[in-house]
Symmetry: C2
Subunit: 363 residues, 2 copies
């Protein structure tokens, strides 16, 4: 193992955000990375992702995951290349997935590093369709909503990392898909992905647009709602569910930035009238299915049935905080990816576009 010291920059949490995160809640610091102890490897990070759940872990709300400690570097799913290792199973040069993002270089315990099969794909795919958001969509569509051929499925935030995958998986399962997204460009993209009817949620009441979409399909109502939004989307979906509908609760981005709780849907009694099931889920309960998922999903990616949708945020590690804020604001289409090193960027598979602090989203 090489004994040289490596200089690295990393983002440290300074204060817990309440409501919208502020620049003063974090700090980018530089520090030399020590030589790895036995049981650790050193990794040069290539790409990391920013995700909505990080907002909750910063805030330290009573939640499904531990809060990030104040004074420590933030965490993020990251793909990197091993640059220092004594472990024969993790040789220098191996592509690995770990959770020590928000920094250029990092030390990672051997047990928290997973060696990736490169598949000749963009490393960022392991953070999107082959990673957490892709498997989350797969669990939601197959295990929670149990989509079957002929179902009418509504996916909200369908240009997002999870939503864009959920739309494509619902089509693979033989459903008719209604989707909502947040800009004309996103609507076009989601239509390209195969959704049958797509609307912009800024173009009028969700209920009105949802009823219009059902009319376009000649459908009586929804069999499945894959919810990434909560709030008015959830209330509108409940309004038009069919008997025995299934609502997979995956995320509620509408409330992540709210400091005070918003009232919920006023029509939950329809869950009784329609004998509907609403179920929340987290990926962590389904890790036993990872091999099955990876086998199916890598096949669909290779055959073109599932296309990754990424937005790359520029600026390297220094741009990561703006990338996170941009993702929360809806600037990202598909998975929000932050290339941390030169060879992590420039993929030909970027469907979503690129974004930098100086420019608008490019598609």
């Amino acid at each position: 193992m090489s004994a040289e010291t490596v200089d690295s920059r990393e983002w440290v949490l300074r204060a817990r955000p309440s409501g919208r995160p502020l620049d003063s809640d974090v700090e980018l610091i530089a520090r030399p990375l020590p030589t790895p102890e036995p049981g650790m490897v050193r990794v040069h990070n290539l790409v990391m992702s920013v995700e909505p759940y990080m907002r909750g872990r910063m805030g330290g709300e009573s939640n499904y995951a531990e809060p990030y400690p104040i004074g420590e570097p933030l965490r993020a799913p990251t793909v990197g290349r091993v640059t220092g290792s004594d472990d024969p199973a993790l040789p220098a040069g191996a592509l690995v997935l770990h959770d020590f993002g928000w920094r250029e270089h990092t030390l990672v315990p051997v047990g928290e590093c997973r060696v990736l099969d490169e598949h000749g794909m963009d490393p960022a795919v392991h953070l999107s369709v082959l990673g957490i958001p892709g498997m989350t969509a797969w669990i939601g569509i197959d295990r929670i909503a149990r989509v079957v051929p002929g179902d009418v499925v509504f996916v909200s935030s369908a240009a997002g990392a999870v939503g864009s995958t959920a739309v494509q998986l619902a089509k693979i399962r033989g459903a008719r898909v209604i989707a909502s997204a947040g800009s004309p460009a996103k609507v076009d993209l989601v239509r390209d992905l195969g959704a049958d009817v797509v609307f912009d949620h800024h173009d009028g009441s969700i209920t009105h647009q949802l009823r219009g979409a059902l009319e376009d399909l000649g459908a009586s109502g929804l069999d499945v709602y894959f919810d990434n939004v909560g709030g008015d989307h959830l209330e509108a979906a409940i309004r038009v569910i069919n008997d025995h509908a299934r609502i997979a609760l995956c995320g509620m981005i509408s409330i992540y930035n709210e400091a005070t709780p918003q009232p919920g849907p006023s029509n939950l009694i329809k869950l009784i009238w329609r004998r509907a099931r609403m179920e929340g889920f987290l990926l962590r309960d389904h890790l036993d299915a990872r091999d099955e998922f990876e086998e199916q999903m890598s096949g669909w990616i290779r055959s073109g049935l599932v296309r990754p949708v990424h937005t790359e945020f520029g600026g390297g590690v220094a741009g990561a905080w703006d990338a996170f804020a941009g993702m929360l604001d809806g600037s990202a289409t598909g998975k929000a990816i932050v290339p941390l090193a030169a060879d992590g960027a420039g993929s030909s598979q970027v469907l979503g576009g690129t974004y930098s602090p100086d420019k608008e989203v490019q598609r």
Copy 2:
């Protein structure tokens, strides 16, 4: 078949209530009952029940059941004795269950009449623990919430017809049971039925009392919530659910009388964090299980493991409307029963008490 004409009184719907039902929405009329045509039998009604769902069918809201037609007699589950019949399978004297209540005598199509095994029990038992509310509780506990030994189960409106049965069934299934009810007498009754901790929902915030109950049990949270109330009960229950909790949505009596929709729980995101399932159900989807239910439930009744809880409303058919209003107002403990004929009343199995327009509830 006897050809004489029988005089009968019956309640006819005159207007659709909006909000609380008014006396002017209905009218009690007298009319002679004609001789039954072939395919019909004449029944002398003994006891009928009044139930919350009738409010929805009177109002004609978009709902899970057809509205009652204006100008027609109301419907209600009723036990009666056949007094005129050409059908050998339905001889005069047979005890039958049908849906043509709110009247003293009635003609019933042969196909809508079910002959009952008397079991030596009060006929009203076929309207409570052996009838719709009993089977509803059984479906909710066994099929929807899937209660297993050791579960911590919360039942709201636990002195009601469904709730009082759900409490007893959850105990039979090996759960620890927390229950809420609406008066000190009801709290005592539910404790007598075997609930481990019972509180009066008037005695403070539901959340506060629920947390206290969990503390008394040394339990971390709820595994199951059997919801008969909605509103603040539902929000409070969600606040304290355990991972993988199940919420069986059976009724929302808190909103049946509201003309405008009330906001729903503001904490549905906890269904994601706790990977919880919330599911509405109606008995009609589970009628295939009726034989299994009747076999189990009649055994539990005979062995004393399940006790019927009835409140008998006086006044005969003329008192039925007040009985319905009283039931909606929470005056009934257990199943609200209206004896329509002399031999339908006076059961020794009345645990809930009796109620007449002239008196307070007696227990």
